[in-house]
């Protein structure tokens, strides 16, 4: 274990909630998102297997009968964080009925913009924002539109799960979502939440969503991706956001680019700490 990772792993294990999960901040209620990232960070670590198992058990208990996961114990909504639960299963190498039900649910969810009503609406509003409604990804919540981050998270989940789960729709959804992300890339080469243009004016990318999109596009060999990767490296060097830098590091790792890990202060933000560890231990890349 690298010297730099041990104090962070100890810290992460030390702020685990009694129910086995993690809040977004120490002492707060458990949510699936920080819990999944914390578990991905702890997974390769021997000394904290007990903490991992408690968290794993909690995540498993949050799966709904639909196959989706809920984001927090009292938020009974089928949620985009299902993708994170699938990633966790895949990284742990667990292939069982829970994983299959999760993947089936995810494959059944798509952005509402592909529907007939939405397409008719588009006819009235062609000057607002631009995108190809035929290319559909994933929404934050069912029955809403596709956006860059949940689409990217779903792509990563399905690509990792594809080793274990075989489903007719899986290759097609992956291919379409990859095309969607490429189509919604901003002119500067990066991604924002999912609108590249409003009223004909180009919008700028964000570091964190650029990272997410590149993580989702892991394994895609497209020559046009090179400028986006160069941009990601620049954003990583320039960004003052610890969260963005951690995600950008993982994104660059996912595309096989050599990245020097940085020495960063321990953050009070659980996701930042966990993502820094995921980057340091190259869990996803």
């Amino acid at each position: 274990m690298r010297e730099v990772t041990r104090p962070r792993l100890d810290y992460l294990a030390g702020i685990q909630n009694a129910d086995g999960g993690w809040g977004y901040f120490p002492g707060k209620e458990s949510w699936l998102e920080p819990t999944a990232y914390a578990l991905l960070a702890l997974h390769p670590s021997g000394p904290h297997q007990g903490a991992f198992e408690r968290g794993w058990k909690l995540v498993r208990s949050w799966q709904l009968s639909s196959g989706a996961w809920k984001p927090a114990p009292h938020v009974n909504e089928a949620h985009w964080t299902t993708s994170l639960a699938i990633v966790l299963h895949a990284v742990r190498g667990v292939h069982d009925a829970a994983l299959e039900r999760g993947v089936s649910w995810l494959l059944g969810v798509k952005g509402a913009e592909g529907g007939a009503l939405a397409r008719i609406a588009g006819l009235f509003t062609s000057s607002l924002v631009e995108f190809d409604a035929g290319l559909v990804g994933w929404p934050w919540l069912p029955d809403t539109s596709s956006w860059v981050e949940p689409t990217s998270q779903a792509l990563l989940a399905l690509k990792l799960a594809a080793k274990y789960v075989h489903h007719d729709r899986l290759p097609g959804r992956i291919a379409m979502a990859e095309r969607m992300l490429i189509e919604r890339r901003c002119r500067d080469g990066g991604w924002n939440y999912g609108n590249r243009k409003v009223y004909g004016i180009d919008l700028l990318c964000y570091p964190e969503t650029t990272a997410m999109a590149l993580i989702g596009l892991k394994g895609l060999a497209v020559p046009g991706l090179a400028p986006s990767l160069q941009l990601a490296a620049r954003l990583r060097a320039d960004s003052r956001s610890q969260l963005a830098r951690a995600w950008l590091t993982i994104a660059l790792q996912c595309h096989g680019l050599p990245i020097a890990n940085e020495e960063a202060d321990l953050a009070p933000d659980v996701m930042v700490t966990a993502l820094q560890l995921i980057a340091l231990n190259r869990v996803l890349g």
Partner: protein, 321 residues
């Protein structure tokens, strides 16, 4: 090519625009009058504490012993664009509510697009410019939440505990045009109370419910509010992010957010009767000028016409209005 963001709501908006001439007029509102104060401030280095103390006094707000949550408008950072509530305004509000005896003055925001609220607060100068910022601030996108029953046509909505526990939510908004809603002021600013951890970035569920309906429902859900609109440097044109700076040199304040926003619209040269969320909220607040007791400066003396994108040109307040 076609369009995105919120197809169904946009279609509703388009239909609404087409039918605007036939829309029902705003309700005359609740009984009585609403006080709205307009205070002149020529720059952010003016004595904003003095202006706000005067405004609060003119509006008759009592804050002693209350837990106050300041809700600024933090969206994205661009050093050349007045997108966010200026740090000087938020810092002044902290000082004012503490001086007036609030039990606690907290700050909370849940930006609609950006994941890293912490970095955004740093870029916007909040961390350096607001005393004890770390202790006061909650990222409302990632706060613990409670379900509140009944929200438009859905059974309920999850809202952050920090907001639900506040005795008074002060919407410290920015005076801006908005390319979907017409104007974003103290009411639209309430969108930032909705947690991204449940609804995403952006909070697309609200778009599907309807932007205007969601604004009104949030206003109904949080009845103990006060509005402070930073119109010292506002934004016109393609707001709320890509517009241009517009110097209005005013701070607008009041207990009735509907009346505050209707007044801001008149200052911006926008017809408040054509802002759908104001029309929908009119049974709970005053849109009509005759029902608003204007304090401080007059609308006429401080009105600066905000440029509107062509798609919003129909919102222009006719001269003399």
């Amino acid at each position: 090519m076609t369009t995105r963001r919120a197809f169904i709501p946009i279609a509703a908006g388009a239909a609404s625009s087409l039918l605007c001439c036939k829309r029902p007029i705003a309700s005359s509102g609740p009984a009585g009058m609403s006080r709205v104060a307009i205070l002149r401030a020529s720059s952010y280095s003016a004595d904003l504490v003095d202006r706000m103390l005067r405004g609060i006094s003119l509006c008759g707000l009592q804050v002693k012993g209350k837990r106050v949550l300041l809700k600024p408008n933090l969206v994205e950072f661009d050093r050349f664009a007045p997108i966010n509530t200026d740090v000087s305004v938020v810092a002044a509000a902290v000082e004012v509510f503490e001086r007036l005896g609030a039990a606690e003055v907290l700050i909370g925001e849940g930006p609609g697009h950006r994941r890293d609220t912490s970095a955004l607060t740093e870029q916007a100068g909040y961390r350096a410019g607001i005393p004890q910022f770390e202790r006061r601030f909650t990222d409302l996108n990632r706060d613990d939440v409670t379900s509140v029953p009944g929200f438009a046509d859905i059974p309920g909505i999850f809202l952050p505990n920090t907001a639900l526990r506040a005795d008074l939510i002060v919407s410290v908004a920015k005076m801006k045009t908005h390319h979907w809603a017409g104007a974003t002021l103290s009411m639209k600013n309430l969108f930032g109370l909705v947690p991204g951890a449940v609804y995403g970035w952006p909070k697309n569920k609200l778009h599907f419910i309807g932007i205007d309906t969601s604004v009104v429902e949030l206003h109904r859900t949080f009845p103990r509010t006060f509005g402070i609109v930073d119109g010292i440097t506002g934004m016109d044109g393609n707001g709320p992010i890509q517009g241009n700076p517009r110097q209005s040199n005013v701070i607008v304040m009041g207990r009735d957010l509907v009346a505050v926003d209707a007044t801001c619209c008149r200052l911006m040269g926008i017809d408040p009767d054509k802002i759908e969320y104001l029309r929908l909220a009119s049974p709970r607040g005053h849109v009509q000028e005759s029902r608003i007791e204007q304090r401080g400066e007059s609308i006429l003396s401080t009105r600066i016409e905000y440029r509107l994108v062509p798609q919003m040109a129909h919102l222009r307040l006719q001269s003399g209005g």
